[in-house]
Symmetry: C2
Subunit: 217 residues, 2 copies
DNA sequence: ACTATTTTTTAGGTTAGTCTAAATATTATT
DNA sequence: AATAATATTTAGACTAACCTAAAAAATAGT
């Protein structure tokens, strides 16, 4: 299993969440920042190895084997993110890039010992669930802030976009996982929201609200 | 800097210790388990990048830049070995293979934070010194057990061969870093040694003695 | 000093992973 | 249903990192 193969599997896994159809080569190319023709090549190789199902022009989907392989990479990625944050004092906007490298280290023992060292965390620093060694993943009940009605009280439990830019914006606004948010009003014109967070009132655009996962309390 | 380039630099660095002449392509190929022709290719590329000095048929040596790069890889390798042993309960014969992968992770912040997390260790689990972030390396005063005269008392401070086979042999004989060893006798015929370790008497071959670093007390 | 052996380099080929440009299939529009 | 637009695949080419086999240089033996 090469790094490249692992990265393709991971991208296909992420794109598969939600959409029940085959994932298009264009979508994969877009996510991988590569070209559709490159994706076609790789997807054919993954199909030969039994990791994906692929028929020309039909898009691609993971086999059980392929899904498990992807989950083990996601597991490593998220465990390393926890390690970097909790043990090495990285901030939540710094962990992802390094985890992109660490996720490819091959040692089951390392992964399992790391998990134990971290005390079996169930979520990564961005609120995403960590698959266990069997590939089981906790289903978390969360919705986007943009989909909650005005008047509700919610708690921030995750981010959809985990880019440094967005995370640093949240830091600046003092919004973190666990923050209590009151939705005071929703503006019909642009779907912007007026919120109260830690007794501070603020307005956020729909784009912000559509990237924050919350649970209702 | 690719993994392959990094591995070549590391091998050239290790071979450079002791020998003041240029390192031959054959020696490198042997160490890398590759072919001399492949080494020639790579060495030419490294020379173009200013990491080694290379003249046809003359062997190769590291530039300051190349040496520093190699030292940073060795630094990461040894810090990760300490991490695996101290924090994740790996044994000293298990750490090397995983560190071979981890040494290639690129993040200065990660390396420095890891070093801090480990409380600035100066040696790895096999007694080898850990370069600091400037590439400075502590010169340790140690000699091979095979070079010490009979009658001396020494302390085991390192291993030359850190293969699992050798390390597991030492475990079985209850020899570890820090063990006090009395050299009772040396057999002229085969250079084997009779030792006392932890009040147990044993005989070891010259091959064993030539792979154990000790300091005299 | 000359020849034989060994070491090292060069020449040419392979595979993985990428790309661009062209061909083909699918989907949307009239 | 035919045509236009878009999506996808194929064809051919490139680079990095390796290889084998042949050529050339260095070293050793007489
Ligand atoms: Mn991440
Ligand atoms: Mn990756
Ligand atoms: Mn090692
Ligand atoms: Mn390596």
């Amino acid at each position: 299993m090469t790094y490249s193969e692992e990265n393709y599997l991971k991208v296909i896994y992420h794109l598969s969440i939600g959409s029940s159809k085959g994932i298009t080569t264009n979508a994969i190319a877009n996510e991988m920042e590569s070209k559709p023709s490159s994706v076609t090549d790789m997807v054919q190789k993954l199909a030969e190895k039994g990791l994906v199902i692929y028929k020309k022009y039909q898009g691609v989907s993971l086999t059980d084997n392929g899904r498990f392989t992807a989950l083990m990479i996601v597991r490593k990625h998220r465990l390393w993110e926890v390690f970097l944050l909790e043990k090495l004092d990285f901030s939540w906007d710094e962990v992802h890039d390094v985890a992109e490298q660490l996720e490819h280290i091959k040692s089951e023992k390392l992964t399992d010992k790391l998990e134990e060292f971290l005390d079996f965390p169930t979520e990564d620093p961005h609120g995403d669930p960590i698959p266990d060694r069997e590939g089981k993943i906790k289903k978390v009940d969360k919705k986007l802030l943009s989909e909650v009605e005005a008047g509700k009280k919610v708690i921030c439990v995750g981010v959809k976009d985990s880019s440094p830019a967005f995370l640093q914006y949240l830091d600046k606004q003092q919004i973190a996982l666990g923050s209590a948010i009151d939705i005071i009003a929703k503006e019909d014109f642009d779907m912007s929201l007026t919120l109260r967070v830690h007794d501070r009132q603020m307005t956020v655009s729909n784009k912000i609200a559509a990237n924050l996962f919350v649970k209702t309390v």
